[in-house]
Symmetry: C2
Amino acid sequence: MAAVLPTPPRVLLFDVFGTVVDWHGSIVAEMAHLYPEVDGDAFAVAWREGYRPAMARVTSGELGWTKVDDLHRMILDDILPRFGLESMPSTERRELNRVWHRLAPWPDAIEGLSLLKRRHTICTLSNGNIGLLTNMAKQAGLPWDCVLSAEVFRAYKPDPVVYRGAAEVFDLAPSDVMLVAAHQDDLAAARACGLQTAYIERPLEFGSRRPKAVSPDPANTLHASDLMDLANQLQ
Amino acid sequence: MAAVLPTPPRVLLFDVFGTVVDWHGSIVAEMAHLYPEVDGDAFAVAWREGYRPAMARVTSGELGWTKVDDLHRMILDDILPRFGLESMPSTERRELNRVWHRLAPWPDAIEGLSLLKRRHTICTLSNGNIGLLTNMAKQAGLPWDCVLSAEVFRAYKPDPVVYRGAAEVFDLAPSDVMLVAAHQDDLAAARACGLQTAYIERPLEFGSRRPKAVSPDPANTLHASDLMDLANQLQ
């Protein structure tokens, strides 16, 4: 599909969990290693399901500003009993919670990002905290030019403050910036702020038992099967 | 000198202007190209001299939060008449102001940072804004794991909020973090917050007409002639 871009984006902002790294597969693999008796697939999904409600508690003001590391830990503490793991000691909980720092990239991610980095500034725009994203990048070899996070703006996506703030960081108009994500709601919120948007198909984000619909939304500037495809389309 | 480190630092935070990049030489070179009739050495020093007073206006509350890009522009507008350049059009001022995004690294910086990156997380901790630091890194090839800036904390060094905040970003005790800088006052402020400190000799920071004293302060954890030397000492 030969897309006509409004103007080539100077900065590409990337959603990370699910878009660049495979949180589901990484948590399943870690659980299979640590607790083979537990249904790792259900565990990963339960952990992730607590994510939006936890951020909503911050956005509503019920909780003060809380990093995703701490939200992940609250959710973990909450779900462990459901999986018969309520006796897990706190040092082990802390270590397991760091699995989010060790998520594996999708197979196309490093090569795709490296290609995109040649012509664009590539930057995270994730609700994950800066330390988490930096540790992940170092472990996985993700070649970010810059690590931007909700933590910088003290607001979680889809708050417009985050998308607009990211464009302001680079002293660019929102239309000179593109959000790249595997989630239509994230892209819709960015588009409402004037950003260009690229959807990435990640049909296995929730595992092979729960294939995700990845049909195109014509409202997006681009629709790509993966980050290599995005790099080809942006050339 | 075989230093005995308290514990090897997990994260190295770098001051940037003067420590990693040669602001004086870069501005002199740009002015020699654009305005050979102007004393580039005096111009560079005048521009930099306005930096601390400008940040002090933010810290005192006289100015609201203002990025270094905007402070640099205010100082530039202020000094241009002194150099007979008061008629410079605003598009040209904007372009010249971006020289701070194009500063050249000291000759040892890229190799030194690349070595340090093997064992440590390497991160900026500069008063420069995130966009400036990211553009500079991309242009110069500085291989940061993370770009941290006063902009993240909305406070300028030497405010303790910046040093403590950087350790908190990585969920580390201040003593697990080291500030690397060519300025003793920056290091002293970091040390007061519990960080380890490494001084880097940059005798030509202000140009060859103004050699800078670079004698060791025993209060620092390490004293290095450049970033290669620091990498050797940290091995």
